[in-house]
Amino acid sequence: MNARRWNPLQFVLNNSTLILFALVFIGFSLSSPRFFTVENVINFVKQASFTGIIAVGMTFVLLTAGIDLSVGSNMYLSAVVSGLLMRTMGLEVLPALLVALATGTLFGAINAFFIVNLRIIPFMVTLSTLVIGRGIGTALTESQQIDLPQRMATFGQGQLAGIPMPILLFALVVLVAYFILTRTPFGRQVYAVGNDVEAAKKAGINTDRVIFMVYLVSGFCAALAGFVLASQVIRVDRSFAEGREFDAIAASVLGGTSLFGGVGNVYGAMVGAVLIQMVQTGLQFNQVNLYLQPMVRAFIIFITVFFDSLRETTQARLKRRFIRPVENREASTPART
């Protein structure tokens, strides 16, 4: 069959993000020699960490054909709650992290409750909780900026075997999420639900539970990302993590995740998040105006989704349903006058 033959166009379409990644990396390295240094690479991976972590959570949600617009607010709210406790009660870093994670997971559970139990569409639910979450967070701080204690900075700058803490947590999240999605029954059921909810129900999968869980995962990741970001900037102000949900969606989609469910992986989300940050850093190196940077990012996202749709249409042609076996089945030809 000729479908197995190597096709350069198909190859480019199937690996568009990696090719883009390589091109951008080479381009920046050529344009600015300081870009291609270990130090700088570590630096932008570190900065990509928190986007990467929420992108991983977002990937779970997108895999079920859902969406979570509330992750930015969730990052903020859980950072506010843990930050306040650190300041007022002198909470240590680790308990504060646990508090943040609990807050974020609860936030995710509330989203899940509205989506699964009340059957409101994810877009409306998470758009609403986006506003509600930030409102509550700002009310809690009375609109004041929270300056975090020094131990938080120490945590954020900490290293383990030479690897900075944010990268370490990012890698850990990617690894665990990778295992969950590829190796656990739950992970595989996430893919099944995204591929065909009705078939999943027929196959005996508790689809409600699966969908509930992905919003918990997204909430958990958002809280962790919020904590990582807070440990780097050492303060939580009103615009903390605002609009980050779109970075997460973009990173996930850049990594090959489909908005229609069933297709995607965390490895792609990781590449997507690093790519976004790399572009940002590269533009800074080349002293491109601060305000131009989001425009370049938008352009890159557009290129990716454009290639994605090209791939879809070329593959749709291959998937057309045949009613006549294409391979010659038998010699009998119809008798015709």
């Binding site: 969950i180 995204g194 078939a199 045949f322």
Partner: protein, 507 residues
Amino acid sequence: MSAILDIQSITKTFFGVPAVKEVSLRVAAGQIVGLIGQNGAGKSTLMNLIGGVVQADSGAMLFQGRPYAPRNPAEAYRAGIAFIHQELNLFTNLSIAENIFIDAFPARRLGPLRLVDRADVSRQTKALLAQVGLDLSPSLTIDRISPGERQLVEIARALHMDASLIILDEPTTSLTARETEKLFAIMRQLQAQGKALIYISHILNDVLALADSIAILRDGRLVTQEPASAFDVSRMIALMVGRSIDSLYPPRTAAPAATPLLEVQGLSAKGIVENIQFTLRQGEVLGLFGLMGSGRTELARMLFGMDSFEQGSIVIKGQRLTRHSPRESIRRHIAFVTENRREEGLLMNINIADNIALVALPEFARTTLQVLDQGRMMSAARSAAGVLQLKSGDITQQPARSLSGGNQQKVVIARWLLAEPSIFIMDEPTRGIDVGAKYEIYSIIDALAAQGSAILFISSELEELTGMCDRILVMSRGEIYGEFARSNFHAENILRAAFREEGVKPA
């Protein structure tokens, strides 16, 4: 022998129309029961009752001696009934192994995580695949294997859940000859292991060769269930067709003229249709008969410009079509009544009047802003509804979904009438509507032909074609396999052509 499944006088009615009526059926362990019947005879409904997709109005089922009334497919599945549909229920993005084990993976714990025991899954899958004679890697994803292989994966899944009853609905439609043989061998093997199987197919020779017992449905009732040895193909067809009842069809009022309106020349699309050639004349009702999956609908979509083809041409009133799109077809006065009203026909939540006006909307526009002349539009919609004797409330208020099947179909036809077409392509226009409404649809078809329109009447119900058509084309595996003039309508011969039985001489 004791029956593993015992269906006792089960009845299911949809919108007042009985689809399955007082059917009793017994399936014993180690037995293959062949289930045959024309389209609309109630086979699917009966299987959906067993599979928990729909619930019976009355009657009872016993499964393995216990009362059995599944409320959903998952319950049937858990009870040990595997249902292999014509459209497969596999997750194309997952591997073969994952599809088999998706609801209950063998897992081992790793800290807080429950990991799939991939070695175990892989080993078990290999064993299952070996049982169905598939030599594929368990980690291959479904979208990379052929339809035949997918079919066997479904069977492997049924084996894994240790189903004691396996229902196969038209499993060979998309299989090659070799794959089909493999499937049959495996079915016999399962039978030898004491499983019960229900096999539904239009390929009567296959049924005859495989089944121990054959059940025939007609009009929702069981005609007979007897050992396979009591049948030959002729008897099966005769029982499926039954007696014809003349009063079901209105008399044809006019004969077709000689003027060709639509000429199809050598239409081909790889893997779909092959060298389609026919002429449709003014005032003619041309039947297009074929079994499920014979390519009828695909051909209709190509004729209307919805799907592309590779070779051949379509000539309308002597002019060859150069552009193919629904809009171009509408401009050339072609109408297309699609086979499924729900997905491709009606705007269910929108009122009847707007549904009727949809195709002809631009006709009711004034000025460049395309402001609608609502008065003219409403009166046109009303008169079309009146001509077709639509039974409804206020057509400007009532949504299309609240109508009965027959009246919904009238709305679709009315929509096309306003565009004043001369060629009608009607794909299964009477599907899912009751006998009385069918008669009305037939009368409309006759009236349209009498007024000089040409109608391509596509159906899988042979009776209505012989009752209404001037000529019938038979389609099979994407080809026109036979042509019958009205004087030569013989139900058995037409069915034989559709089944590709030997010894048929197409006219």
